[in-house]
Amino acid sequence: MIEILLFATIKAGTPLLFATLGAILMERSGVINLGVEGLMLVGALTGFAAAHTADSLFIGVIAAFFAAMAAGAIHGFICVYLRGNQIVSGLSLTMFGIGITSLFGRSFVGLTIAGFSKVEIPVLSKIPYIGQAIFNQDVLVYFSIILVAAMHIFLYRTKTGLYLRSVGENPGAADTSGINVGLYRMSAVLVGSGLAGIGGAYLSLAYTPFWVENMTAGRGWIAVALVIFAQWNSTRAMAGAYLFGGINAVQLRMQAMGTSLSPHLLMMLPYLFTIAVLVMATLRLEKGSTPEPEALGTAYDREDRK
């Protein structure tokens, strides 16, 4: 029972993990992106469409990454180079994503593919209780865990990561020391958007696996909230994503067991929980020094440099 729940928890948490990691990367550079929901949808549809057409899940994931990247480029261009309002641009991106996927997704509704299958890792998968739950997942789950470590190393152990963080904290100072603020921010938005796209593709290639309109159902927004919960830190993002995966798993389990509770009430759980977690995370932030990137949400204009 615990093993089944843990397995479902990780599976349900993985799309959130990809999206949250993507959002962290963008916010670290100082760009907030409320378009994650839209990017996930673009990734989910493109991933499914490409995988179905090319009969290759791998091509699906790659296509999801680049399609979401292209959609994210609009946000990047507006926020970084036109210095537009990041909040409005992100919301537009979500609307754009919902609209365009509903249009192009029509012909893919009802189709099925064989989703990612489990890959058992020898020895480790034999660990009692947790082995089958953690080490008998699909490759994207393993990839997401590697990505958590990679992101941590990138942000804290490489020069490029340091520059990226400095761009998010104090773009004026970064600019003075010769860092190309625009380039760093744009790159972060592109790669981060692509990761959000893979998060969406996980839904349509591994989790369900099929395409339905608006299948992300607010996961993009939960990811944006998780960034604050995670305090812009990739390892904490993993904890947050699996926490929500857990809620989701319990909710589905209860539904499957035929509880008398209305499915609509159960549906509220993740959102209620996100708000509760957000409040607690914010209260904790307020007490200590806030790890929020100093320049988050503000456009950088060299002429305004102080």
């Binding site: 537009s92 608006n214 927004w221």
Partner: protein, 352 residues
């Protein structure tokens, strides 16, 4: 080579025309996307215009859809004034519709008193729903964008729970809707169309909000907080109380939109009572540039797109969510045009 230099003053010409140009550019871009999707854009646009403005009934439908947009748009725009983001008008509308329906189905009140009670309950429910995010923002600095947005999902699920469960019409063939309100608790309509008195209420509230924002101390203080929170603090304005108050008003307006949909359009509470009006309201508020009259004008324009979009569902079997594409594109172009309002292109000879 073309460079961009900051204008000393925002270009007046661009400020006035930018919203209209943005809509046109968005329609042009959407046309290209439609071509890729194998849809004839000219036929689509002709159908949209014909449906929304081509007949008396079409125009009345456009005004029907503009009603919730005006109300939610006003609500979002008053929060904007304070630089507070209310992305939750959709959920507040649902909660307002629920409050109104509760009175209609349970109170036994009739006639004008009943309608008035429904109106007040809708405003209170919508207001409290938004006020929660306002409270969290004011007291703990919790990000209101995320909270208001997530509360949409909760409100929609809650209404679904009611109309599938305890409030379901026993004679409704299992459809997710409540029994019809008694006829005296349904808003009267004009000229055999679906245009209901809610539209008049919306227009009246445009005037009320205009006076509130421009002629009262409260309105002035809200603007000061929005423009310079530090100065507002020094001037002794209580920012926390204003945040909660403004969020309440913002949600109350969205709640009233829910009253209009339940008591005016449907005559009952049902699943999907809002067609994303609360999200469109964000565009309305942003395009209207925080002016109450602007909210009215932009709402009508957006209603044309919504009614037209609905018609494409029937004419071309396009999904309802398709209109989101227009909305996203319009906003993208508005943001891009803002850049041209603030900056001017200058021709520079390379190498001086």
């Amino acid at each position: 080579m073309i460079r961009f230099e900051k204008r000393k003053d925002a270009s007046k010409l661009f400020t006035v025309f930018a919203p209209f140009m943005s809509v046109l550019f968005a329609l042009a871009t959407a046309a290209v996307i439609m071509l890729f999707a194998g849809i004839n854009p000219i036929a689509a646009y002709a159908g949209m215009l014909n449906e929304s403005l081509g007949s008396f009934y079409g125009i009345s439908e456009t005004l029907v859809k503009s009603t919730p947009l005006i109300l939610t748009g006003l609500g979002v725009s008053i929060a904007f004034r304070m630089k507070i983001w209310n992305i939750g008008a959709e959920g507040q509308l649902y909660m307002g519709a629920m409050g109104a329906s509760y009175v209609a189905l349970n109170s036994g009140l009739t006639g004008f008193v009943g309608l008035a009670a429904m109106f007040v309950m809708a405003a209170v429910f919508g207001g409290i729903w938004a006020g929660i995010s306002g409270f969290l923002k004011a007291k703990a600095n919790v990000n209101e964008i995320i909270v208001t947005l997530l509360m949409n999902y909760i409100a929609i699920a809650w209404v679904s729970y009611l109309v599938y469960g305890p409030w379901k019409d026993p004679n409704g063939f299992n459809f997710p809707l409540t029994p019809r309100f008694s006829p005296d608790l349904v808003l009267s309509t004009f000229f055999n169309t679906r245009l209901h008195t809610g539209f008049i209420i919306a227009l009246a509230l445009v005037a009320v909000m205009y006076i509130f924002m421009e002629k009262t101390v409260w309105g002035y203080e809200i603007k000061v907080i929005g423009n310079n929170p530090k100065a507002a603090k020094y001037a002794g304005i209580s920012i926390d109380r204003k945040i909660i108050g403004v969020m309440f008003i913002s949600g109350a307006l969205a709640g009233i939109a829910g009253f209009g949909e339940a008591a005016g359009v449907q005559g009952r509470l049902q699943e999907g009572i809002s067609h994303g009006y609360g999200y469109t309201a964000i565009i309305v508020a942003w395009l209207a540039g925080r002016s109450a009259i602007g909210v009215f004008i932009v709402s009508v324009i957006m209603a044309v797109i919504l009614v037209g979009g609905d018609s494409l569902q029937i004419l071309m079997q396009l999904p309802v969510a398709f209109v989101n594409l227009f909305q996203g594109l319009i906003l993208f172009f508005i943001l891009a045009s803002d850049f041209l309002i603030q900056n001017k292109p200058v021709m520079k000879r390379s190498g001086k």
